[in-house]
Symmetry: C2
Subunit: 369 residues, 2 copies
Amino acid sequence: MKKEFNPTARFLMGPGPSDVNPRVLQALASPMIGHLDPQFIQIMDEVMEMTREVFQTTNQVTSVISATGSAGMETCFVNLLEQGDTALVCVKGVFGNRMCDIVERCGANLVRIDAPWGKPIDPSQVKDALGKCSPKLVAIVHAETSTGVLQPLEEISKIVHEAGALFIVDAVTSLCGTQVKVDEWNIDAIYSGTQKCISAPPGLSPVSFSPQSIKVMDSRKTKVQSWYLDLSMIRNYWAGAKRAYHHTGPISMVYSIHEALRIVLEEGLEARFARHKQNHIKLRDGLEAMGFEFLVAPEYRLPMLNAVKIPVGFDDAIIRSRLLNEYNIEIGAGLGEFAGKVWRIGLMGESCTLNHINMLLAALKQIMV
Amino acid sequence: MKKEFNPTARFLMGPGPSDVNPRVLQALASPMIGHLDPQFIQIMDEVMEMTREVFQTTNQVTSVISATGSAGMETCFVNLLEQGDTALVCVKGVFGNRMCDIVERCGANLVRIDAPWGKPIDPSQVKDALGKCSPKLVAIVHAETSTGVLQPLEEISKIVHEAGALFIVDAVTSLCGTQVKVDEWNIDAIYSGTQKCISAPPGLSPVSFSPQSIKVMDSRKTKVQSWYLDLSMIRNYWAGAKRAYHHTGPISMVYSIHEALRIVLEEGLEARFARHKQNHIKLRDGLEAMGFEFLVAPEYRLPMLNAVKIPVGFDDAIIRSRLLNEYNIEIGAGLGEFAGKVWRIGLMGESCTLNHINMLLAALKQIMV
């Protein structure tokens, strides 16, 4: 017989999940109700409203996919692409690569442009690529969690729309930690995750779609290849007049995002962004004082995900495991070409406090003597 | 600003979700840890072991998909089918129809056989169909939640394997409520849900795959069309030597299934099946004494999902809504051709008690005077 599982409380300062507010944990444990209960319909409505607010959008089709952020990514591509369509993907880390993989699985033609890992895509690269192909959509990651790069979006969005394409954005790590202006930036499809700056448990993906992208979906010639992620049915369940049963909504997870979004909006988006920025500066100052170098140039650094080079002579795995085992602090390893060379230190949502920074800096000083 | 959400406690006697044990709700609220934390690796291992136990299998590839039961269904088909393959689907309700939909989205050739809703598929139908086509797989629903039919599987499994096909089973509603013998019945791919007789919140799908079905996946010529549900990567995350990052595991949901499976195994599978059977008989006796008629013949009735005809002269929606609003009891409406004509009364997991039955029968007597 397995024993009861009692996880050690951690301080989560990696690339997500981040710490979860006790109010959110308590919401998770609320009594179960049915997925067609009028009370559940009400909480779905409220989650949609608050999701619109944090995406800064009036998009009617704004809801939550019943799976993690990567399923949100897949939702955008499988609903917008049909076999033979062309997609232009901007790659500068792991998650741009994942987009390429999904585009190919859709049977679409993939055109990709790359920036070196740790740097953003330059708008001129997008312009050049659009001179050579006419894609149905252009996709880019806003906050590359694998490198810590914040990708400016406004200029690229203009270029994309001038070329008549849809603009798809990954906001998994950025949403609720820095500006994500869906309407002002003219984003046609966007997805996020719950376990980063929203500070809810992982397992849901907030998404939003512009009227233009809905028009494209409504004029598809073929069915969406995924039944589970087919928005034409998900829309009916979340927001249709009849609330038609599609799948069984993940009730407890919806409770958790409801409470987490309430906390976000109580703080206010602008205050929350400022907090992430200020704490990023404090962490940066502390790390630089210890001799750490950042991977990313100052103007493109993510506030909530700080990628720093591991100083020569220090062992990646040993230090991370001492942080975890002796201090209960989790930081993130490098991914892909940065494995063993870079740490990714998260300051996301509930984990973005001066106490977290102080604890981590002190622990690092004690370990790296 | 939205208010805190405080759902009314319900007695869940519909087609799922079922009532959740307080221990499971408490597990949900355990502290968040990272999805690559050694402690999370440990709980994943334990969940895999317990999932094998309830599926009565030694299949190495037995784990949990990070989405609801319908995503488990899709996982089976997208991993086993490639474009141009043929699939034979047995349809006798909503969930067989859903299988057909998914098969077509895979670009496979669909052959379907139908039984009238409320009746099982006859093995001779499968045999006849297999005389006319050579499918890669045959799929069938074990417990049709839309009709209350328990489908015998052993004879059909033999026929399917004699024809050299793989045998795919939907055990969403049956698992942990009645016998599901994956190895003894020679099932090649099976999926379930958490919110039925396991009595965990909805949001995960336990799955298991035979060595033969893994061989078929390993010799695919094309990539699985879904990135999120691609088992070659999910296997590496759940059970690979390196536990390679795929998506971010839904931590809190994994806590919940861990505790729910512990409760299932504490009771013991045989005792649990006997409890479902005994309570089904008590409910049946009570309903029949009130004049209700069952939809399904006695030998094919599901213990955990009782489909009864709504007596002439009584209004479906009014009675269900009085049950919900005055008694906090949820029962299920009819689906598809049974809408307005049938109720589906669940006795699943934690909702399968004599108290639930007594409450429901008393409430129905008070309402249907």
